[in-house]
């Protein structure tokens, strides 16, 4: 490889250090009023030189600049995975959905006896373990939630029937369907679905820590 000539190097350095893309004319003026034809020749040489490298010299609307080669674009935005343990509140909500699905947020709250912050369901959906499964055809048409195949995979379950202890819990009468009219009559319900998100257990829901390893 022969060293590039002075002008090529000057154009290269100028475009590198410039905060904005530059036109041929701006480059020529910057480099002390040389011929635009010479600048064009230098740009051609540089374009050729950088065609197979990690960076490219490109022209966009008559303005020239260096940019990352398209095949390398993935390097600019990397995703780093980060193990996080599910918070206690989220685990409870997940367990309730798994045992009672499909279930609305109001029903989850009724079972837990405490309001559920919206963030909790978001986390479970982000984790890919819970999905929205339509709406219940009752007044207010609340969204109902169910578990996913990924949920079964992550917890090593062949089906929801495998959830250990489900039969025993049912035998103890603890999994009886919630009678919503009765709940209403007892004024035991939490607030309506979707409201009061910021009031209850906001702290609890977001507590989660990195796994030690």
């Amino acid at each position: 490889m022969t060293a590039p000539d002075e002008l090529v190097r000057a154009v290269e350095a100028t475009l590198f250090a410039s905060e904005e893309a530059m036109s041929v004319e701006a480059l020529a003026a910057h480099l002390g009023g040389i011929e635009t034809a010479q600048v064009r020749a230098a740009l051609d040489e540089l374009t050729h030189h950088y065609r197979e490298r990690g960076i490219r010299l490109v022209e966009r609307g008559k303005l020239w600049h260096f940019e990352t080669a398209p095949e390398m674009a993935h390097l600019l935005r990397r995703e780093r995975e980060h193990l996080r343990r599910l918070s206690r509140a989220a685990t409870e909500v997940l367990a309730i959905i798994a045992y009672h699905e499909p279930v609305s947020r109001a029903e989850i709250e009724s079972i837990r006896g405490v309001q559920t912050a919206r963030g909790t369901l978001d986390v479970l959906m982000e984790a890919g373990w819970v999905r929205m499964a339509g709406r219940r055809e009752v007044p207010g048409r609340p969204v109902i939630y169910a578990t996913t195949t990924e949920f079964l995979e992550h917890f090593g379950l062949a089906s929801r029937r495998d959830l250990p202890g489900i039969d025993e819990l049912r035998a103890a009468g603890l999994l009886d369907a919630i009678d919503e009219t009765l709940e209403d009559a007892m004024q035991f319900d939490g607030p309506e679905e979707g409201d009061g998100d910021d009031r209850a257990e906001a702290d609890d829901d977001f507590i989660s820590g990195d796994l030690p390893d």
Binding site: R80, L83, G113, L163, L174, L211
Partner: protein, 273 residues
């Protein structure tokens, strides 16, 4: 006269300095008027700096300077400042005094010198001047390097690297079941049972106390009214009931109660009619 002195010694410095660092050439290199001495002294970074400047005017390697000549030059400078009645910073005067001492010590015969010897002190001073000179030269060379933002430039518009943190949630089947159990335990209806305990009812206590009061007119301690062989758990109930029974009988005017001191024994006797 100061101008003369200054002119006389305004010769190129032995040390070559990088271009564009004129700053490093001492103020004495410039021509100035007679009353400029104070300003000159102000321009030096202390007495050591003035000494270094004077030493460089000897135009020899700093290792070969004449300390005696240097001392004379310095003292001459200070004298002239004194003659012009210019205020000198204390450290310049301290240095002058120390140099005067050094000079007299250097002129003494060797055998009369104290430790450390004058030669050692002179060498030490020379070494310090060398070191200061070296640092000054190093600073100039450092400043003259290719500096970012002046001589070399970083990329003007880097795209920037972004790292998105993606949470990978983790839990286990055991945690799931445990959580469900906790929810159920927390929200399950609770049934409270009260155990059947042996008690003495107020009615039976009134019967017992009034029956015993009928036996005598003397004062009796409340504790004497208690049945002798009661179980410990029953005793408290008996004592409480008997006390309430005594109060009830006093209210009905059938008994009187006396207690000599707080927490003292409570005595009881029938009111005879």
């Amino acid at each position: 006269m100061i101008a003369e002195e200054t002119m006389e010694v305004s010769l190129p410095l032995a040390l070559t300095l990088p271009e564009g660092e004129e700053d490093w050439i001492g103020p004495a290199n410039e021509q100035r008027s007679e009353d400029a001495l104070y300003l000159e002294l102000d321009g030096w970074e202390g007495p050591l700096d003035l000494l270094l400047d004077l030493a460089r005017r000897q135009k020899v390697d700093l290792r070969q300077i004449s300390i005696l000549a240097l001392v004379d030059q310095y003292l001459g400078y200070i004298d002239r400042a004194g003659a012009l009645r210019l205020e000198l910073a204390a450290d310049y005067l301290v240095m002058a005094a120390w140099l005067a001492y050094l000079k007299s010590a250097l002129l003494l015969p060797k055998e009369e010198q104290e430790e450390p010897s004058a030669e050692e002190l002179a060498l030490r001073l020379q070494w310090r001047l060398q070191r200061l000179g070296a640092m000054r030269e190093a600073a100039a060379r450092l400043m003259a390097r290719d500096r970012i933002g002046r001589d070399v430039f970083l990329r003007g518009a880097p795209e920037g690297l972004r790292i998105d943190r993606k949470s990978l949630w983790h839990s286990s089947a055991f945690e799931l079941i445990q959580a469900y159990g906790q929810v159920k335990a927390r929200t399950a209806p609770r049934i409270y049972q009260v155990r059947d305990r042996m008690v003495m009812t107020l009615d039976s206590a009134i019967d017992r106390v009034s029956a015993m009061l009928g036996v005598t007119l003397e004062w009796m301690d409340l504790r004497d009214f208690l049945p002798p062989h009661a179980e410990p758990s029953l005793r408290k109930s008996v004592l409480a009931s008997s006390f309430v029974a005594a109060l009830e009988l006093a209210r009905l005017g059938r008994a009187e109660i006396a207690q000599e001191e707080i927490f003292g024994p409570m005595r009881l006797r029938r009111i005879s009619r």
